[in-house]
Amino acid sequence: MCRVVDLQQAVLAKNDASAQSLRAELAARGTTVVNLLSSPGSGKTALLERELVLARERGVPVAALTADLATENDALRLARSGVPVKQVLTDGLCHLEAGMLGGHLDGWLPEGTRLLFVENVGNLVCPASYDLGESLRVVLASVTEGEDKPLKYPTAFGLAHLVVVTKTDIAAAVDFDEAAFRANVQQVNPGVEVVLTSARGGVGLGALLDRALAAGEGAAVHTPVMAAPPAHTHTDHTHTHAAVAQTRP
């Protein structure tokens, strides 16, 4: 018998459930995950390196996991900060998933780690769809990437808890229009905070660390419009098939 059966299953439900349990498990261990998303060349690794050094200087137990398609350069660079760093090679997979992250943390994540920075695979498309169990999702863009970056990658920017601008030391040289960038961020993610940073100039490092620590202490984190569950489900598709499986001859 050929029949049509209603399934009504969210495709990402499995990842979302893994992320939810990883978040709870890490919270019980006192660890907060910060998920860092950006395009390649955004200066994410340089900023993270400085962030790790600052955390160590302040006595905050911190660790970093960096995901890459192939090379190990990022891990070597981050390891110079002196904090525990793990490199994960995704073998061509363009994003991390919660289950994968959990597997990589098993037996590695040092006890007492307060902040775990996860440097996601460098792109702004695929990682946006996957909750990793983070408490703070940070989307970064450098001043060289253009003011319209948030409009080109609305899902990534639209789901950010915090937006970070990098390389602001060269903003004038590349004619970065900060007001236009902020307006574009607000269009896709109204109310989200934008933090200006420069790894080279040491600007904004404390602000990012403070936001991460606050998120770990349970301070309210921005809720993006795009992340909020719909106020009511639209009825045009979901319930028309009713609960009865339709049979076809």
């Binding site: 018998m1 050929c2 029949r3 049509v4 059966v5 209603d6 399934l7 009504q8 299953q9 969210a10 495709v11 990402l12 439900a13 499995k14 990842n15 997979l93 363009c94 994003h95 998933e97 498309v125 695929c126 946006a128 769809s129 996957y130 409009l151 080109k152 609305p154 899902t155 990534a156 639209g158 607000q186 269009q187 896709v188 993610n189 109204p190 109310g191 419009v225 795009m226 909020a228 719909p230 106020a231 009511h232 489900t233 639209h234 598709h237 979901t238 098939h241 609960a243 009865v244 499986a245 049979t247 076809r248 001859p249």
Partner: protein
């Protein structure tokens, strides 16, 4: 290209449902794809075909239903089509008061399969995941 991961997740979920129901050949899968789901439907169809190979879904058709993104501002009683790039701040008051009504769906709606059972009207449980 995460469409491959998405396609494999769809195939995995349908395979599991088919196994539970004792279904053999799956002929089509209906999927809602929101405008803001971050998925390219054409890439997804391509990957779906590959992901179905060698499974009970071999040769199955993917029917992707696009879901337009709509948002609403309660204080303004305003509702609008979000568009692309999306306009998620209220076009009337400009305040960060919008709610997204639709557009993030990535949901398997239904499947059509051969389950080898006689003609009968069965009641299928619907999970309340949304």
């Amino acid at each position: 290209m995460h469409e491959m991961s998405i396609a494999m997740a769809v195939v995995g979920q349908v395979e599991e449902a088919a196994r539970t129901a004792g279904a053999t050949a799956v002929s089509s899968v209906r999927l809602q794809v929101g405008e803001l789901a971050g998925v390219v439907p054409d890439a997804l169809s391509f990957c779906f075909e590959l992901a179905c190979t060698g499974t009970v879904l071999e040769g199955a058709e993917l029917v992707a239903e696009p879901v337009p993104a709509r948002a609403r501002c309660e204080p303004c009683a305003d509702e609008w089509a979000v568009g692309m790039p999306p306009q998620l701040s209220c076009p009337v008051c400009g305040e960060p008061t919008a709610e997204l009504l639709s557009g993030r769906e990535l949901q398997i709606v239904s499947v059509r399969w051969e389950d080898g059972r006689p003609h009968e009207r069965t009641r299928e449980p619907i999970s309340e995941e949304r």
